[in-house]
């Protein structure tokens, strides 16, 4: 960060005007935020005045600064504490996201996935009924009133009987507990059939799939022997969305969500990616960069890319998404929605990878097919690559409280608290941001990480730079779109009824 603005005058002679703040220059503007996440975007001139206390006390700028609780003389500590508490609401509850790897077997071969899959004959990588039940018993011990069990693989449809058993067992066990229980399945859909679908719909299991972009790109990255993986998935997406409509569910809320993995080849094809998602009826697109877990060094060169290329891609794609929104197409970008919710509403959507402290172990847990419990799916993938750092228990022997207070989990919570992180403590995005100890451990050799070298930090900073730029310069219609993205509408239909027949 350039300190030119500070150096250009009696930098620290502020006359005591500003309250505690952090700042960052983006282009010709300066983003200023408070510890509790109030924010303002100033011109350089305004910022200089803010620093020195040379702000007309009757002017609009002073008024804006006071409104944002950024002025020392009118600083409302109670309000700041309340705002801080609201942002950190998630610390009152334990894990709400529980990933269950019901099998490692998968019929597709993806270029970025090695450690997370096994061939279809590897029956020993199927979770057993007994392991599944012990995992559910633990899951329902969580202090969180909301519980989402996400079926992962491998391809979960390969071990469908165990998925069915988990849904029935967990729902039945939850009857006396009354938690808000939901199920999600991440599937490539190629093994779907009408019987399975009918069961999944009847049991309110939300379906989610992976789409890597247009057919040619998707098929290249996700290989299905002798078939097109895109053609295997696409009709089912349409079929499922139709089923929701037939059930009388609001299609803006109920439809198949898809997950994207951005590889090197995706970068140039941002427009096609967005168009594909729109055509599939998706209302959200998550422009996730490829993560460093689970693939070999050799593959890394094929799928990875410099972060600045990613950020350019991100900007182009999101600009295009905003443009489509102006034309009446309802689609949002997930990263933007997460950060904007934090920036604009003062709430935290509890996205577990972007919060401080991070969600590993205390917000989410991953249960491997063999019963090993990991801090997260990323920790589980590292485990599959031979690094057991993030294995924190076993469903057969571990007690709930020992898992969430495991020494590794404690270390991760400290490591992912941004208030203790060099660079973060001076970054204005700290109220909205998060770091992932597993990612740091894998890429930088330490759970703490070094933010200036971290690709994840570069992505988070770059996206927030872009969003604050938008918030400072966008027209009213665009701002309305961005505000709309922060609206979270609960999908009540997916919540399991707690009473018989309820």
């Amino acid at each position: 960060m350039s300190l030119e603005v500070l150096q250009s005058g009696a930098a620290l002679d502020t006359g005591g005007y500003p309250a505690f703040f952090r700042f960052r220059e983006i282009g010709e503007r300066v983003v200023v935020t408070s510890i509790e996440g109030e924010w303002i975007v100033l011109t350089r001139e305004e910022f200089r005045g803010f620093l020195r206390g040379e702000v007309d006390r009757d002017g609009a700028l002073h008024q804006r600064l006071v409104e944002r609780n950024l002025v020392r003389e009118s600083f409302d500590a109670r309000r700041a504490a309340e705002a801080y508490r609201r942002r950190k609401r998630f610390v009152h509850y334990g894990p709400n996201l529980h990933l269950m790897v019901v099998t490692l077997r998968c019929n597709e071969t993806c270029v970025y996935c090695h450690a997370s899959r096994a061939n279809l004959d590897a029956l020993h990588t199927d979770m057993t009924i007994e392991t599944a039940e012990r995992a559910v018993d633990l899951i329902l011990r969580t202090t969180s009133p909301h519980v989402t069990i996400e079926f992962q693989g491998g391809e979960p449809l390969v071990n469908f009987p165990v998925v069915q058993h988990i849904v029935e067992y967990a729902t039945q066990r939850n009857r006396g507990l009354g938690k808000q229980l939901e199920f999600t399945m991440v599937s490539n859909l190629s093994l779907m059939d009408e019987t399975k679908l009918a069961w999944l719909l009847a049991h309110r299991v939300q379906l989610c799939t992976s789409i890597d972009g247009p057919k040619s790109l998707h098929d290249k990255q996700r290989k299905l022997p002798t078939l097109s993986s895109y053609d295997a998935a696409e009709p089912w997406i349409a079929r499922i969305n139709a089923a929701y409509r037939e059930a009388g569910l609001d299609p803006t809320l109920y439809h198949v969500e898809a997950l994207l993995t951005t590889t090197k080849e995706t970068l140039e094809r941002w427009r096609e990616v967005v168009d594909t998602y729109v055509a599939l009826g998706c209302r959200a697109l998550f422009l996730r960069p490829v993560d460093p877990f689970g693939f070999a060094e050799k593959t890394r060169k094929i799928v990875e890319y410099p972060r600045e290329d990613y950020l350019a891609y991100y900007r182009r794609a999101v600009d295009y998404i905003i443009e489509l929104n102006h034309q009446g197409v309802e689609i949002l970008e997930r990263y933007a929605a997460i950060f904007l919710t934090k920036i604009l509403t003062g709430d935290d959507p509890n996205f577990l990878d972007i919060r401080s402290p991070g969600g590993a172990g205390i917000g989410q847990l991953a249960y491997n097919y063999d019963g090993t419990i990991y801090s997260s799916d990323e920790g589980r993938m590292l485990g599959a690559m031979g690094d057991p750092t993030f294995a924190i228990g076993d469903v057969r022997t571990s007690r709930y409280r020992d898992i969430v207070s495991h020494p590794t989990v404690r270390a991760m919570a400290i490591a992912s608290n941004l208030e203790g992180q060099p660079d973060c403590v001076d970054c204005p995005y700290v109220p909205y941001c998060g770091t992932q100890p597993e990612h740091n451990h894998k890429t930088l050799g330490t759970m703490m990480g070094r933010m200036r070298e971290s690709s994840m930090c570069a992505v988070h900073k770059g996206i927030q730079d872009f969003l604050f730029e938008k918030l400072a310069t966008a027209d009213a219609a665009t701002l309305e779109i961005l505000h709309r993205w922060t609206t979270i509408r609960a999908r009540e239909h997916f919540v399991q009824p707690v009473a018989e027949g309820g």
Binding site: K88, Y93, P357, R399, V404, P422
Partner: protein, 175 residues
């Protein structure tokens, strides 16, 4: 045979290509020992880390690559270690300053996640765990009973005279 590495101050960083190692001299007045430990710990999976005191005010850190590497590899190792060292030193200072905030959030996060102990948890707790009666103080440690410093607190080597004095139990008990 030590040689300097491109862009690294030779007074601080030297390499031994034959041994595949890089030798860093770390100013102890700038980097506390715990920062050196923290950085060293991050590197023990990747290389062999050796610490020594080069002089009273400096640490000597030797990083030996586990796999054969060239000057560029050693340069990267030295650079990365230096970065981690700086981050560790700074992190320690930050966590000291922000301790209240970090502690309160972390404690709440754990309290929130763990919840109150359940009956299952209490079941494993042994309430009958009482030590035996020791009216004569037999089970006291020697250091406590004879009011001797713990071994770590001793300074210098024991001398013959000290042994002679210490081996007299009556003398020991009286002190």
């Amino acid at each position: 045979m030590s040689e300097s590495l491109l862009g690294m101050p030779p007074a601080r960083v030297l390499a031994d290509l034959g041994e595949g190692c890089v030798i860093l001299t770390v100013d102890a007045s700038m980097y506390p020992q715990h920062a050196v430990y923290a950085a060293a710990y991050c590197f023990i999976a990747r290389c062999y880390v050796w610490l020594d005191r080069a002089e009273p005010e400096a640490f000597r850190v030797v990083l030996t690559a586990k796999q054969p590497t060239d000057a560029e590899g050693l340069r990267a190792l030295a650079g990365e270690f230096s970065n981690e060292l700086l981050a560790s030193a700074w992190r320690r200072e930050i966590t000291r300053l922000n301790r209240g905030l970090i502690e309160s959030v972390t404690m709440q996060a754990f309290g929130g996640a763990m919840g109150p102990p359940s009956l299952d948890d209490l079941e494993a707790f042994d309430f009958s765990d009482e030590p035996f009666d020791d009216p004569l103080g037999i089970a006291q440690s020697w250091e406590d009973k004879y009011r001797k410093p713990k071994p770590g607190a001793e300074t210098g080597a024991e001398t013959g005279a000290a042994v002679a004095a210490e081996t007299d139990p009556q003398g020991g008990a009286a002190t």
